[in-house]
Subunit: 369 residues, 2 copies
């Protein structure tokens, strides 16, 4: 199979700004080309746009704005893991030999229609993600005797780490007591336990091995891919205290890359809510069931940025269609030893975990130098 | 490269019915499995949904309704050629080796938000497709001294052919005078010159060579693929009387399949408006510039269904996200000698032409037995 590498990336600050989706999309691509002036955009064969925005034909619109006439141009949507779905699609376009270089660009506005699943009748009245977030939290706390305070540390840690991420939505740090005292949304969720929708964009350029090596001195290779969709509605989940789709996607990705979870040096996990971080770590195999919170506490106390160095979704913000791409950029920067104050020591192999809708679908990517 | 074949298909009648998008999507998949009870749906690795509908997460929703837990599940949108973009994406997932079997399902409602490009500021006031349809018609008539009556024959032919398609929106035949007397929409377009949006769905199942041969006695192979996006706004077209993106996509697809246009036995072209049929035929190389109308007249007079046997978009209706898939199903049926009263004699190699937004992007597929 043709090897696929990340050649370049661009990103915008994550904000609450009211900007047109085309402008948001364009800004991360502009950032990409400004940071990599040597790349000839005429060699871009495909442009994939990752978004939940309702505007159509955004890939040709972006292409025209950027001055590209690609072969392949379309949008991809799968709620919160649209970004990694787009990266896997780009991978397959290159690995199949159809194209050599693909621009993947994700963007969202703060008022994304992917936030609240108005149309999904299988969810009854419970169309807002806080309902599944709340059920997950209650179930996890009961099953493993975990306290609200223990979970609050996820938010404390991720806001602390986001402080070192110049593009993060949050620039504040909080104590456990701050999280506990923040607005109570449900019996089990406080405001600071939640990631927040925002406006932002992230873009990466992928290429075949040959083309990647011509365009960058330090390509980062995608060596493992795992994906799984177990259902659409969260009531079909077989467990509310672990993530079945993440387990399957994680083991597939590690098998493909021929690594064990112990080999992973740096990780982006999809912390839509505080509880999601330990659950995802456990489902990926980083710790036994219920052991994720202890792992997080130890990393926090030793100032180790291994998990969600850019601050996760809780600290960095969650512009749905851009999130999976922003996660992939963070791991790329870490592996290139280019993550400034967030840098994890000696990071050689990284993992991206991106999911949708109560972990009814998950993507896991393994990246390496 | 792994060879990719069409294993099965399902389709619904094209109507003006007011049905939920999930129901529309489901019906063609149900039809697919009813017609192919031997196929084990647990072997489906990926589910791609082609639509302009604003509902999110439709691929997991469809998968759950159908009882599939795929690896890959997402929606794809590129206005009117979303369908063939999805087929090419499925092709690349299989050809890359990531998966073995992909369900591609396209659906649209009669009131699709892809019909009128409300958000596209580059179009000024001219957001409805009849504006570019009208400009194309005026330009083509002027450049090649073609009359309204000559173009009206496209509608006459395609309605006649749709009469033999049990799923077509139209069940009526018309004379040239009927087309000329139908409601005048612009200086150059009458109502019967236009394809009509409608409610409908079409699904195909693609698989690698090995899996395809296990699941059907008569797989149809996708041997040529060409795609091109020249711009988003139609004012950027270099010509209004030919289709640049179609020229490029067509030659790429023929080169990949190693055929000449003369080798093609049966064709689906994207006749969004009457003028599009001769323009597409010319841009694909079936005739010299301006010669498409004579070719169409000769085929009509000899009752030869070679071009748009199912009645094209004008006769069959145009449910945006389903159209490219329905075109591909028609060519599959033709190559399998399974097109009943529409059957073209001795069809061995077929071509699908699907485009968006004034031919600013085009897909061409070559299919063979």
């Amino acid at each position: 199979m043709i090897k696929v590498g990340i050649v370049a990336y661009g990103i915008t600050p994550f904000t609450k700004d009211d900007q047109k989706i085309e402008s948001v999309l364009f800004k991360s691509v502009k950032n990409l080309f400004e940071n990599n002036p040597e790349i000839d955009r005429n060699h871009i064969d495909a442009v994939l746009v990752s978004t939940n925005n309702n505007s159509k034909y955004l890939s040709p619109i972006l292409s025209e704005m950027v001055g590209i006439q690609p072969k392949i141009a379309h949008s991809i949507e799968s709620l919160c893991n649209s970004g990694t779905n787009s990266i896997v699609s780009a991978y397959s376009y290159i690995a199949s030999g159809l194209v050599d270089m693909v621009l993947v660009s994700g963007a969202e506005r703060y008022d994304s229609p992917g936030q609240i699943l108005e149309w999904d009748n299988s969810r009854g009245e419970f169309k807002h993600p806080i309902f599944w977030g709340s059920i997950f939290t209650k179930s996890y706390k009961r099953e493993f005797s975990i306290s609200d305070e223990q979970l609050a540390l996820v938010s404390v840690k991720n806001h602390k780490q986001a402080k070192q991420n110049p593009n993060a939505l949050s620039n504040e740090t909080f104590t456990i007591q701050d999280v506990m005292n923040s607005k109570k949304l449900t019996d089990d969720l406080k405001l600071l336990d939640c990631s927040r929708p925002c406006t932002g964009s992230a873009s990466i350029l992928l290429a075949s091995q040959e083309i990647a090596k011509k365009n960058t001195e330090m390509p980062i290779w995608i060596t493992g891919i795992g994906q799984k969709t177990t259902s659409a509605g969260f009531t079909k989940n077989t467990s509310f205290s672990s993530m079945e789709s993440t387990k399957l996607a994680g083991s597939t990705a590690l098998n493909m890359a021929n690594y064990d979870i112990k080999d992973i040096d740096v990780v982006e996990v999809h912390d839509a809510f505080s509880v999601c971080e330990p659950m995802a770590l456990e489902s990926l195999g980083f710790s036994k069931s219920g052991g994720g919170v202890s792992m997080i506490k130890e990393l926090y106390e030793t100032n180790n940025f291994k998990i969600n160095p850019r601050g996760g979704l809780i600290g960095a913000g969650h512009p749905l269609g851009a999130t999976g791409i922003a996660q992939t950029i963070e791991i790329t920067q870490q592996l290139q030893s280019n993550a400034t104050n967030r840098q994890v020591n000696n990071a050689k192999i990284g993992l991206v975990h991106n999911m949708s809708a109560a972990a009814t679908s998950s993507t896991v990517l393994i990246l390496e130098k």
